[in-house]
Amino acid sequence: MRLALPLEKLIDQLLKLPGIGPKTAQRLALYILKMPLEEAGQLAQAIIRARKEVFPCSNCGYLTDTDPCRICQDQSRDRAVLCIVEESSDIIAVERTGYQGRYFVLNKDFNLMEDNDLEALQLKPLIKKLESGEIEEIILALNPDIDGEIISRFLADMAVKYGVKATRLAYGIPVGGDIEFTDEITLRKALEGRKEL
């Protein structure tokens, strides 16, 4: 049996979202159909507005509706420390730790095996910052996989050329985790990065 055409179109659109399969798309679409018309309109409006008004900060790459973003405008934050992340969502995570430095978002899917290149990373703004002499340390907070590793080592080499210290997040066992069930790679890295008590 065929679905009503507008419903089918809505499902098709929802299917484009990451992590949404056909069943979930259908459930969400049916839920939207049950919403009061006003609420559905607000949802549609919110999507269009966010899409139109939010863009990456010209200074750090964080998603913002003011340029520079609020983090870059905040004079109380430490200008000498720059935390480098892969995506805006990583900033949200690091912000929760109370970190008080600034950020730089690479904002680029880098996958070496899929014919990507370090040239695609758009690093000019970062180099300008390194050149300015304002930065004393970059903290590399990239995902601990092969691509993150390659970019981290590359950026660390670059920072050193400008006399800037490069650090990276430590590997470790998650709080509340279980040593017995920790994989051997993490455990080995945690052992290497052990701290004196």
Binding site: L112, D115, L118, L123, F181, D183
Partner: protein, 259 residues
């Protein structure tokens, strides 16, 4: 629950070629298995912090994996890490060369074609790089053995056109895949010139094991010629450009364009 479809279980040692994000916490893993050749399989829940599979499916890890056959894709059900090559992971150039090897496998191997000989070669090269470090001959050794295993073993002891043995073989036809004698060279185009040293090195790459090959002393000029030769040979017969190789050379020569 399945109706009439029998689920098969199997296990194999495997080298992880690459992973791609799938649904929420799953990854699609491309791997080179000893028994089944290159396959794609799903590692479920592998992005969760507690996943015991996570370490086993990192690129260029060597793992023992257990599979169950699925309707479309097989599932990796369990795994045991055999080698993580921790020294490689400490150096960007070693990482890049290892990723290049994975790229060679990813782009050239057919799925479900078992190549146990090549499997041993890949392992020996990863082990070599991890234990001893970078050696261009180790990479060339793998390129040559990849070609051999895919049916592109070059003819090196006679003229590929007239079959004449003996005499000087001073050229190589990339298209015909073999050495060319001085008589035939006049009527063929686009030949790759071979020095005696280069020809000897190419012969060695395809016939000896890595241990022997890695000990060979060759001049920088010959090594460079060998690299260009294999690059052209690979690109002609396998019709691929290798992005990682390209990036390694840009990094090495400081030619990366920062945008």
């Amino acid at each position: 629950m399945s109706f009439g479809v029998k689920i098969m279980y199997y296990c194999s040692r495997a080298i992880i070629i690459k992973t791609m994000d799938l649904r929420e916490t799953d990854k699609l893993v491309t791997l080179f298995s000893e028994k089944e050749g290159k396959i794609k399989a799903v590692a479920k829940g592998v992005k969760k912090p507690a996943s015991s599979l996570r370490a086993c499916v990192q690129p260029f890890c060597h793992s023992l994996l257990f599979f169950s056959s699925g309707r479309e894709l097989d599932l990796i059900t369990q795994g045991k890490l055999l080698d993580f090559y921790s020294n490689i992971r400490e150096h960007i150039d070693l990482i890049l060369y290892s990723v290049y090897i994975m790229e060679l496998l990813d782009k050239n191997l057919m799925e479900r074609v078992s190549l146990p000989g090549l499997y041993v070669d890949v392992l020996s090269v990863l082990e070599y790089i991890n234990d001893i470090g970078y050696n261009p001959l180790a990479i060339r050794f793998l390129e040559m053995n990849l070609l051999k295993n895919l049916g592109y073993q070059p003819v090196l002891d006679e003229c590929v056109f007239c079959g004449r043995k003996g005499g000087l073989l001073r050229n190589f036809s990339i298209e015909a895949g073999g050495t060319v004698c001085d008589m035939c060279v006049k009527c063929t185009a686009k030949n790759f010139p071979l020095s005696g040293e280069l020809l000897a090195l190419i012969r060695l790459l395809g016939s000896k094991n890595l241990k022997t090959v890695s000990r060979v002393k060759a001049t920088d000029a010959t090594l460079q010629q060998l690299e260009i030769f294999l690059e052209k040979y690979l690109e002609y017969h396998l019709e691929r450009k290798f992005s990682v190789k390209n990036m390694i050379s840009k990094l090495k020569h400081n030619r990366l364009r920062i945008t």
